[in-house]
Every structure is written in C-alpha cells, then in structure tokens.
C-alpha cells in the first residue's frame, strides 16, 4: 500500500514536469506550425537564470518562497526576451521558406544558445538551491516532501490558467484563430505576427515554470540540460497530438506513467525507453495525428 501511494506520487510528479515541458513545446507549434527544436535551449537558459538569480537572492532575502517567486519572475522575463529574439532572428526571416529550412534553423539556433551557455557559465554541473522549503508531510503512511506536492500543484495551476487564457481572453481566441487558419485570421483583422510572438512568450514562460520545478526535483544540471528535456517533450507532444494543449498534458502524463511503471513491471528496469517508443509507434499507427490531435486540412 505504501509503495503504491509512493509510486502514484512519483507518477504525478514526473508526469507534471513532462506535461509542462510538452505544453511549452507545443505552444509554438500549435500557433505557428513550427517545430521549435531550440526550445530545449530556452529551457536551459531558464535553468541558469533561475540558478544565478536565486543564488544571489538567497544572500539578500530570508524567505525561500519570496526568493522562488522573484527568481521565477526574473527567469520568465529573461527567457521570454530570448524567445522573442529567437523568433525575430531565426524564424521570422524564414516565414515563407520551406518547413525543413525552419526546422534546420531551429536546431542551429538551439545549438548556438546551448554553446553560449557553455561559454558563459562553464561546463561544470551546478546544484540548484532548494527553492521550496524542506518540509515533509505524512500522506496515507508515506512521508512526502513538500516540493513534490508543490510540483504537482504548480503544474496543475499553470495548466488551468493557460486553458482559461486560451479559451476566454481575446489573445487566446486570436491564438486559436491563427492556429486554425493563419490567412483567414489575418483577413479578420488579427495581427498574426503579434499572435505568433505571443505564442513564443507563452512557451518561454511555461518553460521557465517547468525549469523551476525540474530544478527543485532533480537539482544537478549542466549546460546540456535542455537536450533530454526537448527529446521527451517532443515525444509527449507528438503522442498527445502535436499542437493540442490537452494532448500535450495527456502525453506528458502518459510518458510519466511509463517511466514509473516500466521499472516495476519489466525485468530490466532500463527498458523504459523501448516501452515509451513502442507506445508512441502504436498510437501513431492507429491515429497518425496523436491521441488528441486534429486532422489538418491541407489546402492547395
């Protein structure tokens, strides 16, 4: 029973982080129809900004919560600016180029950012300061650290807020319109380029939140932290249906579930990746658009 509760919490924690990462990745695709492989580096940037901001702030401020909030805000701002710059430099000039060119450009931009991090911050791994107070709770006989709850709660709040923004606000409606048909949205008076920029900012902010949770949970990171994150975010997003917000969340939790279940069930615990990809392939065979993806109508 204890083990069961523990594994459920493990699943929720890991799933929440994957879901947020996949969500931040899928934002840009959903609106701009662009597979943004530089996103992993954006994630890396937010880890480093968070690290430097919080390390500095801990010298000045006592309260852990306050440090967390302020450094998260700083990280969101810096990350958004870099995402906007990225859009301006690497994507806007290629707006009418073939899709492949943009993908190559995104891979390249990602590498440039990653190596800039390497040159500025160095190659040595760092330990993120504890951003959430070290308190333990008792849940059904299992002692659970506060940070695990916070990861799950913060992830859920972010997803709910994002859903409300997308469904209810003017910007959200504009985003959905651009997502459905960019040209027609333009005719309706929507400034599509601004909406695309907004999607980059949204993606960056969610990435910054995800980075803060990731840093809290796994603490040690180096300049290439974004590489494996982008990998799993991409898989989760494709599994759930790339471009779909609920799909990304679903995909994230499925990958989380596989990561937790595979070591329990399989004779060799490291076969998790095989299971994850097998599931991905099966889903894509049955439903090529992913679980919640909508079939796009190609117009000639």
């Amino acid at each position: 029973m204890n083990t069961f509760v523990q594994q459920i919490i493990n699943f929720l924690q890991l799933g929440s982080i994957y879901a947020l990462c996949a969500l931040s990745f899928t934002m840009v695709y959903g609106v701009a129809r662009l597979v943004n492989f530089a996103h992993g580096s954006i994630f890396g940037v937010s880890m480093y900004v968070l690290f430097f901001a919080s390390t500095y702030l801990f010298n000045v401020i006592e309260s852990t919560w306050l440090v967390y909030v302020i450094s998260l805000v700083i990280s969101c701002i810096v990350t958004s600016l870099i995402a906007l710059l990225l859009e301006r430099v690497a994507y806007t000039p290629l707006r009418n180029a073939p899709k492949v060119a943009v993908v190559v450009s995104s891979v390249g931009a990602g590498m440039v950012i990653e190596y800039l991090i390497l040159n500025i911050a160095g190659s040595k791994a760092l330990r993120m300061p504890s951003l959430i107070p070290n308190i333990k709770f008792d849940l059904l006989g299992v002692s659970v650290p506060l940070y695990k709850f916070m990861i799950i709660i913060i992830a859920i709040i972010t997803m709910v807020v994002l859903n409300i923004v997308i469904k209810k606000t003017k910007l959200g409606i504009a985003m959905r319109a651009v997502s459905q048909d960019r040209v027609a949205a333009g005719f309706m008076g929507i400034q599509t380029s601004k909406v695309v920029s907004a999607s980059f900012v949204f993606g960056a902010i969610i990435a910054a939140v995800a980075a803060s949770l990731y840093g809290t949970a796994y603490s040690i990171f180096a300049y290439d932290v974004g590489e494996s994150i982008i990998w799993w975010s991409f898989i989760a997003a494709v599994l759930g249906g790339i471009g779909s917000i609920n799909g990304a969340v679903l995909g994230g939790y499925i990958i989380g579930a596989i990561s937790v279940l595979a070591p329990i069930i399989l004779p060799v615990s490291s076969y998790k990746d095989i299971v994850a990809f097998a599931v991905l392939i099966i889903v894509l065979l049955v439903k090529p658009t992913g679980l919640l993806g909508k079939k796009g109508i190609e117009k000639i």
């Binding site: 523990q6 924690q13 800039l116 040159n119 504890s130 990998w231 990746d273």
Partner: protein, 416 residues
Amino acid sequence: MKSKKDSIMKKMLLIGLCSVVIMTALVGCNGTEATSTDAEPESAEAAVSEETGDFEDYIYFGLNYELTGAFPIIGESSIQGIDMAVNEINAAGGITIDGKTYGLAYKALDNAFNTDEAAVNAQEFADDEEIVAMIGPNDSDMCMATQAIVTDEHLPAISPWSTLVVLTESPWYFRACFTDDFQGEILAKYAYEYENAKTAAVLYDMSNPYNEGIATRFKEVYEQLGGTVVEYLSYNGKTGETDFTSQMTKIASAQPDILLLPNFYEEIIAQTTQARDMGYTGKFMGSDTWGDTSLLDWDTDNLLEGALWVGHYHKDIASDVALEFIDNYHTIYGTDKDPNDIVALNYDAVYLLKTAIEIAQSFDRTAIRDGLNAIEVFEGVTGTMNFVNGNGDPTKSAVINQISGGEFKYLDTVNP
C-alpha cells in the same frame, strides 16, 4: 529590384550563413585548447605542450583526453596531472637514453567525450611518427573506441583511469589504475565482511560498461559470499535520465543494508536524494567515480554522511611521493583542494611511461611496450605497483574512503 529569384537567393544565403554560424560555434567549443601554458598550437587540431627545460631533443607522447563533452572535469583534471609530471621530469633532467638526455613533451587532442573523436585522435597519434605512445583516454567507452587502432598500429597506450576489464586484453593497452572487477570485488567483500551487510541493492547506468562491469562483479561476489542482492536495477544514462523515483521506491520497500551506486558523481546527488525521499535508510556505497569534491559541495543536506566508496589513494596514508605530489599540486594550481584521483592517475601514467622508456633505453614503440611489461616496482602517487603479471593491469591496492563531516576520510586499505 527584388525579384522572386533574389528572395530565394537571399534565403539560401541566410541558411548558408546560419550553418556557418553554427559551425563556428561548434568549432569554437569543441576545438582543442589545452591549458593556457601551452605554446601556440601548430595546427588547429593538436595542442602541443611547451617544451619545458633545456633539451636538444624532445620525446613526444599523445594525450587523448576528455576536455569538453559530458564530463569536462575529467579532461581538466587529466591535463593538470600530465602537466605537473611532464614539467617535473624536465626540471629534473629529462629522460636519459644511452647517455643522451631528452625532454618530455606531448601533443593533446580533445575527444569531447565522444567515442568517434577518441578513435580519430588515436589514429592521428598512430600516424604521427614523432609520437612514441599514447596516454588516455580516461573513460572506458572512449578507451574501447581506440583499442582496435592501438592494437593494429602497435602504439603503446596507457589509460590512467579506465577500469574496464577487457581493455587490457590488447597487448598494447596498459593502465595506471585497478580494474572494475577488482572494484566490484572489493566493494562486495567490504560490504559483506566489514560492514556486515547481508542484503544489498544496486542501481547502475546500463549504458556505460564501467557501471555495468562493477555492478555485475559486485553481485557475483556478494552472492558467493552469502549475501542477498534484493534489487538489481538499471537505467539508461545516455538519455539524460534524472528521475529514479520508481527504482528507488522498489529499493526502499526492500530496505537493504547497502545501496551500491557505481555511477558518475554528477548523478549521485539526484540518486541519493531520491532514495532518501522514498524512505531508504541504509548505507550508500560507490565506486571510484565518486572521488570528486563537487560531490561534497553539492551534498548540502548531508545525505552522503557515512557513505563509502573505493578510491585509488588518500592523502592520510599517502607515501612521501604522494605527499610531495599533493603539496606541489596546491602550489602550482593555487588551491587548497586536494587533487582528485584523475589528476593523480594521469600523473602516474606519465611516470610509468618515463620508467618504461628508461627500461627500454629506446623510444621505439615496441620497446616501450616491453618496457612497460618489465616494470617490477613502480612507486607512484596512487600506490606501489608492478606489471609483472604481463596482462597490462598493475597489481596495486585500493583505498576505502568514507564521507564524514563533509570530507573524504580514509577508512581502510584493501589489497588484492
């Protein structure tokens, strides 16, 4: 003015520019730049060491090291040990062959912790007639990538830090450290006999033969002795895995006396934190990869208190040779920190090469190999060793370290 053709050209140009930018970024970071003391490299590729001392001729060896890539600390430590030894040897009069003294110098190539690069570097050294032997790589994966080249080209190689058993199956490969088998065996014996641990669990990275080698041997010996391995779990380090909670939950529910984590030090904090969070209360044990003080700096919650790991040397039992080495290290690099195992083993590797050249009285590659095989007593920083068993592995002792009060403390010496 702007026709459609023009805009296509412009885009092509942009893509071209982008790739140039990317290439420069890559080259800028992966390019080999050894230490700042190095003289101007002749080519962009190999960083040639300064020819220190006053000699007419210099004997060159190749250094194949992990300066960039996933674990840059390996390369940084490696070059420190190499530079110390080379400068010392030259200051002390170099190497005498048939009455003539030669200085020692090296050409360094970064393998970026990439097996392909490691192999390319080895080939380059093999083709370079000036090179008498290769030191490095340090990591077992990198070493294995060079094994076939070293064997085919008859280039004697000394890996300072690779403990992988099969490496020295090549008659041209030697090492300055002990093997994974020996480490796994020592850990199993120590856990069972000295720590009186009757149950153990293992979590290892199955994507690296180093981790797998120790885990396999540990399980074998531990079970032979009568212990029970309650959980034997793995993960894939190549995909950058950081979440081990599922495995740790299984381990915690079995509550073994010992949890062996023969993994890289950068992963240890995440693993031990998660183990404790899942309720594991037993002891942690580790392999020689734990020997980096970053581990102590990162361990802000003192989760590693009492943990044991097997290492190559410790200053508390250090010989005069080792004490002098540690002192010199502090002076040269201006630090209070003690040199890690990699620095010490690279330093020893250079002296092993010097000893072999002196025994051979030649810098012919085959003669150097035979010279290495003929080393009967070598007093290095990491202990006294010999190579008389002829399999390329030194016979030497291991040290059990304990983490206590935020320091690596000497606990015991174990002989093979």
